[in-house]
Symmetry: C2
Subunit: 268 residues, 2 copies
């Protein structure tokens, strides 16, 4: 899906990074891999609910070039001001112009209630809650990031962690598929409007995270259960660090057009 | 996009139809065109907020074969029970097995607040309201329809009025694009799970409706304004009845796979 436009993203300078869902799985892996490649005087802000797990991620991000901070934040409920403030605080008095690159990784996500069959979905409150975390507050946080770095908009890089489910229907995953479709589309529209901002929709492939066991425990859809069981049995699940490295390679090579959906399995 | 699977949808028998957003534009046009082709003892239920405009639509649907009823309903707020009941009432004591085909057209839709630039979207309440009407309650209504016709699931035909914006980002239309993407994806997941139910995502093309003037009056995006102005100036907008007829042709020819996105401009 990568289009022909190309511009390398240089992470060797001072880089500011926000990562959501950094307490586990893919978010943790991207944080760790990033910390290894960022240039001197870089800053990383890790966000998630669990402070304890964020601390563990931060501990694995200790590098001479990088200062890592983290804050516990429930991204389904935080106000726009809370979000703006947490990003501003992380700058630690430095100016936005001090950074060669300003990145945000929207990795936070959930699977929704897998116990309700698609054809019986009718709980609007539940849908709202799902979208609050997975779509609406992702947009709200992204807007705060854009506001903080407004002065240096051309230095912004946005990575949305998406899924094959954003573009391909999967049985038993209506909330996840629709939420990912909406979220990816928001970033595509933004990219269409702001061509000087680099926007990537990265689809990490099937990764060995707690989501897999959650699906197996919760789903009422036998087809979905079979698909995930076969992932597990055949050992085809990717390690988080493998797809995290690929994501950084895609960014550094810059072989994606505005808002492109790039999958782990796409050829380079 | 039409896939190879094909099965004609026969509307010449007694057919039950629910149409939302039937008070104007494409919804009205589909209602009128449908009333001309439905077989004897058919029933149509028209839904929208404006009773007066629904009455006008119903007046244009007077055909010997068809009884048309309408009810004022705010589909952004109606409860699941209200929705179930309005469909049940429309059966007028007849059994669901009396109908050869049971169709629902999800045409209701809005454009959202076009005065907020994409990069400044942050009002979660506004996003919720948009999704309530355009996504969440569409799903809820569809579930009620599936419940009412549960006994004859294989006779169900579902048409979601979608848009090119569901699959292609358009500047200045973040709410519309994301909502259409999510909504279309729900129907694709449902179709993936329920292959015996016919599900079509029909994209009507740029149609001469009040939406066009709304965009021109409200948008803060100059690119979007230019696109819509050129539609208007060049006379390329479709008449509602033209795209309504095409939608029925697609259905009757049945040349679409489960959940396929079929556009007015796709070749037959």
């Amino acid at each position: 899906m990568a289009s022909s436009s190309s511009s390398h993203i240089d992470l060797s300078g001072p880089t500011f990074v926000v990562l959501t869902g950094a307490s586990q799985g893919i978010g943790r892996a991207i944080s760790i891999e990033l910390s290894k490649v960022l240039g001197p005087k870089s800053l990383m802000l890790l966000l998630a609910r669990s402070k304890d797990e964020l601390a563990k991620t931060a501990d694995q991000c200790k590098q001479d070039n990088v200062t890592t901070v983290y804050e516990s934040m429930d991204l389904s409920k935080a106000s726009a001001k809370d979000m703006f403030d947490v990003i501003s605080r992380a700058l630690k008095g430095r100016k936005v112009t001090d950074f060669a690159t300003a990145m945000i990784f929207h990795n936070v996500g959930s699977l929704g209630n897998l116990a309700v069959p698609t054809e019986r979905m009718e709980d609007v409150d539940e849908m709202r809650q799902y979208y609050d975390l997975n779509v609406f507050n992702v947009i709200k946080l992204n807007t705060q990031f854009l506001k903080v770095f407004k002065e240096v908009e051309e230095r912004i890089v946005i990575v949305n962690i998406t899924s094959l489910c954003a573009i391909k229907a999967m049985s038993g995953m209506a909330s996840y598929c629709t939420g990912k479709a909406a979220r990816e589309m928001y970033f595509k529209v933004l990219a269409e409007e702001k061509k000087h901002i680099k926007v990537l929709n990265y689809s990490p492939g099937p990764v060995e995270t707690s989501m897999i066991d959650y699906v197996l425990a919760e789903t009422v859809n036998t087809n979905l259960r079979d698909v995930f069981l076969s992932f597990k049995m055949q050992g085809t699940l990717l390690k988080p660090e493998v797809t995290a490295k690929k994501c950084l390679t895609v960014l550094q090579q810059g072989k994606f057009g505005p808002g492109d959906h790039v999958d782990y399995f796409d050829s380079e």
